[in-house]
Amino acid sequence: MKNAERFTAMSTRVKGLRVSAFVLLALSAPLAAASPPQNDSGSPVQPLSPRPVQATGLSAVAQLGRKMFFDPSLSGSGKLSCASCHDPANAYAPANNLAVQLGGLDLQKSGVRAVPSLRYHEHTPNFTIGPNSSIPDFDPPPQDAAARPTDVKTASVAKADRNNAARAAAEAKVPQGGLDWDGRADTIQDQARGPLLDPNEMANKSQSEVIEHLRKSAYADDFRQLFGANIFDQPGLIIDEALFALVRFQTEDPSFHPYDSKYDAYLAGKAELNAAETRGLKLFEDPKKGNCSSCHIDKASRDGVFQPAFTDYQFESLGIPRNRDIAANQDPHYYDLGLCGPYRKDYAKSTSYCGLFKTPTLRNVATRKVFFHNGVFHSLDDVMHFYVEREIHAEKWYPKLANGDIDIYDDLPVKYKRNVDTVDAPFDRQKGDKPALNDAEIADIIVFLKTLNDGYKPDEASSAAQ
């Protein structure tokens, strides 16, 4: 029941980004195998920018976006494209196992957060505190009010409280939506601006530099045809048109939302889950066991229009261990507080939001090489054990302090540790308790998670399953 209720609430507030009809219907989008590009001398170079995926039926604007997506000349280094980190051959996520990716002018700088996949963002609602209102017809147009809750432990109350009224009140304070780990970009279009200008990523010094790259690009005439002959004389407009084109590629091209996993085939009645997958799904949904689907929604909307996103787009604090592989973390006073900063500034003083990050989709999670916002884990097995043993065996995950105590939630300042969710299963245990899931159950859940990988081929799978 809880899942159903939560889903209903989620599905009615789904807000924001459109998707064309053929995208909703598209069930298969074979990716062309990326072959290494050649440099001027004809020898293979490091595949920083994989070849464009083959796509047909894209609008003129989307085709322009596709050219931009794979164009390394849009970066300050001339060597990074969107596709360098968002690799189409790896579900538009990095193909390597680095916690954070390298970029910048010298390709040696690194940011502080793991690169998310670009798949399945098309229904991400705009960032709000509490549910979105759906009709924006008020005067003046509604503004996002920066709520400043101070003493409400929103993250944990929201999911644990079985009293609907209390939960509804708590839900009203739960941050949700937006792109990036901290939801700071309202739309995919806004998100696309970030990497272009980030000194650790594509490292353009200014929007003017981006415009110069566009002016010199092979597709400059596409801009003139689609957006007017004077487009390069309108700096504000051309950036927005360029970002729009990038988004239009992501919106129209089915490879960004193929919905062709085994689980999708299972929901469509075209595949059956095997015994382990079935057990895994049950544990995934069981509120006393994995309780995963309370945040990672696994059901379609009732009318079937919206397939399961495997996220509720809400924010949570899970007390992820500090990742000492990240350069910034060498400073003991530095903390990545997600919604509270350092990238976002607007909720820096909302103490109950410090340490909260957005719940990602679990589609293609088994293809990821690193997990959570700081990429501290490298296997799903570690992730699952962390979930069920964080409280029971804290010593496995966190270092010892000088006095011998365990420095639990060591990636958060002491005052924000109270924001960590300790009330929802599987976190609702204490030292000495049994974990919510045993090793066999964890293995089953991981088997189930693999059914969320895109590109399921019914024929191959049935023979492989014999």
Binding site: T8, S11, T12, V14, K15, G16, L17, R18, V19, S20, A21, L24, S59, A60, V61, A62, E122, H123, P125, N126, S134, I135, P136, D137, F138, D139, P140, P141, D186, T187, I188, Q189, D190, Q225, L226, F227, G228, N230, Q234, G236, L237, D240, E241, F244, V247, R248, T251, E252, S301, R302, D303, V305, F306
Partner: protein, 555 residues
């Protein structure tokens, strides 16, 4: 005439059949539309009342479309007249007065919005900011005052210059094709400045004076709310949006409003003429495929990609009036009773219109408001979903036997704040909300001698017969099309009209030219010039609801 006679006979037969169905009270005083004497050979008027588009936003480059590969293309017929737009004023595209530093980062010339970008954010369409954007007739501060950096949809620009964008015939394809084959005005204005509720009340009464406000959850009149402004003679004028008081779907946390004047429904009732307002989401008993019901029914579309609430209370103008409201959304007693007075009180769901049409029970006057997903309002709708709604309804009408006596008007409640280059302010106001000629001053260009809060002596009288404040107008220029077998073909009319011209046409056709006290109906021009009542009424134009392109046509 012979066809009229035949229809009268068959309609009488229908009355006889239904007389035994114990719903005879439903027909108290209501006349069969086809047997009524009318000034013009129009027996059915259908007003499709859309949301939030300025004329230049939809027809800025008419009749020239860009025609990129892969989009529905549009090529104008030889001899197509060109309206007052960017084609006739090409400097507006290259040296627009809004491309100035006062508009900050939003300074830009008008630019094309692609079909792929149909889902945009909504602009600011408040009464005061619209007047400020008009800037004493210079029409040069739209990005500054009505521009909104869009955050809804992917087709938005994070820049107030979005307000300068326009669509062409590759996006608003159906409306351009209707303009090619029927009549359009390029001099139609919002009766006043202001948003949805103002436009909706104007299209059914031609006047917004005589408003009463209620605090949230209260039943005591207390008019000091943000959507109402003092009219200068002790009353209030509606200048902003608020929900109708008493509607079960209205907000319980915001102020609500009633209107005290007369509307066209009152006049039609007194004359026993059938009519109805048909709005998406009004039927609270229905459940949509996504499981939503009651006031929360919602619908999604491929373009918007999100669920939008079907019913928008402050878009339903008859709900503001005690005489015409249906507070609990009671259902009509039967399909045959639609249009006549019963418990539904002439307020229906859009599905009821289609049912009545298919049952041969089309009322004399019908106002249609799409479910929000199809109402054209940026943010919750878009031109492509609007097109699907409009084309489906007009196709249905053209395939009915009533078509030869029918006229469809496509009109809009407000401009959304989108840029348009024409102003035509005639009625003055000196309310606290006015700003066109200066602080608290709005009126024809060059007007002087106004005193703040004192209605100018030449302001139109309100519901008590005295000049009133809060109705500065005309406001922004809006699209207005007449689609009828009696419409002129490929014709652009320049008679200055407003939303109140719809009221005027109903009064002229059915009510011997009766007028409403305080209304702009008498001063707004007639729409007669868009018709040729001497032609044979056989023209049809069936369009593809998704592409807006021509499927078939007869002349």
């Amino acid at each position: 005439m012979r066809q009229d006679l035949l229809k009268t006979v068959s309609a009488c037969f229908a009355s006889i059949v239904f007389a035994g169905a114990s719903i005879s009270s439903a027909f108290a005083g209501a006349a069969n539309p086809d047997s009524l004497t009318t000034k013009y050979p129009i027996k059915h008027l259908v007003i499709i009342f859309g949301e939030n588009e300025s004329f230049d936003h939809y027809f800025g480059t008419y009749p020239v479309a860009t025609n990129p590969a892969g989009e529905p293309s549009f090529t104008a017929a030889p001899g197509t007249p060109v309206p007052n737009n960017y084609q006739t004023n090409p400097n507006l595209l290259t040296a627009n007065p809004n491309n100035q530093s006062a508009n900050g980062a939003g300074a830009t010339n008008p630019f094309r919005i692609d079909r792929a970008q149909a889902h945009t954010g909504s602009q600011n369409h408040s009464y005061g900011p619209e007047e400020e954007a008009f800037d004493n007739g210079k029409m040069d501060l739209f990005p500054k005052y009505t521009g909104a950096a869009g955050v809804y949809g992917t087709g938005t620009f994070n820049n107030t210059g979005l307000v300068m964008g326009y669509f062409d015939g590759n996006t608003v394809t159906a409306l351009w094709n209707y303009a090619q084959n029927f009549a359009m005005s390029d001099t139609s204005f919002g009766t006043n400045f202001g948003p949805s509720s103002v436009g909706a009340v104007n299209v059914i009464s031609g006047q917004t004076n005589g408003a009463e406000g209620f605090a949230a959850g209260s039943n005591v009149v207390n008019s000091g709310f943000s959507s109402l402004v003092a009219d200068g003679v002790g009353g209030y004028t509606m200048y902003g949006d608020s929900d109708p008081h008493g509607d079960v779907c209205s907000s319980t946390t915001a102020a609500t409003t009633t209107m005290t004047g007369k509307n066209i429904g009152d006049l039609l009732n007194a004359a026993g003429i059938t009519w109805g307002w048909f709005q998406g989401g009004f039927d609270l008993t229905k459940t949509n495929s996504n499981g939503t019901t009651g006031c929360a029914r919602s619908t999604t579309s491929a373009t918007v990609g999100a669920y939008e609430n079907d019913y928008v209370q402050h878009h339903q103008p008859f709900q503001y009036y005690a005489s015409t409201r249906n507070e609990r959304h009671l259902r009509p007693s039967s399909v045959a009773a639609i249009g006549s007075t019963d418990v539904a009180n002439h307020q229906y769901d859009i599905n009821d219109f289609n049912a009545a049409l298919q049952a041969g029970n089309l009322p004399s006057v019908s106002f249609l408001k799409a479910p929000a997903i199809g109402d054209a309002h940026p943010g919750n709708s878009d031109p492509l979903d609007e097109q699907a709604f409009v084309v489906n309804e007009i196709n249905l009408l053209q395939q009915s036997p009533e078509w030869q006596y029918t006229a469809v008007i496509i009109a809009y409640d407000d401009s959304d704040g989108w840029y348009d280059h024409v102003n035509n302010v005639l009625n003055p106001s000196t309310s606290t909300q006015d700003a066109y000629l200066g602080t608290q001053k709005c009126g024809p260009l060059g007007s002087t001698g106004y005193t703040n809060n004192v209605p100018p002596s030449n302001a139109l009288v309100g519901v008590n017969g005295q000049p009133v404040n809060g109705r500065c107008g005309y406001g922004p220029r809006l699209p207005f099309l007449v689609i009828s077998p009696y419409a002129q073909k490929n014709y652009i009319d320049h008679t200055v009209i407003s939303q109140a011209s719809v009221v005027r046409f109903i009064e002229d056709n059915w009510l011997n030219g009766q007028r409403i006290l305080g209304s702009f109906d008498a001063v707004s021009g007639p729409i007669d010039n868009m018709f040729n009542f001497n032609q044979t009424p056989t023209r049809t134009l069936i369009l593809d609801p998704n592409m807006g392109t021509v499927v078939s046509q007869t002349n």
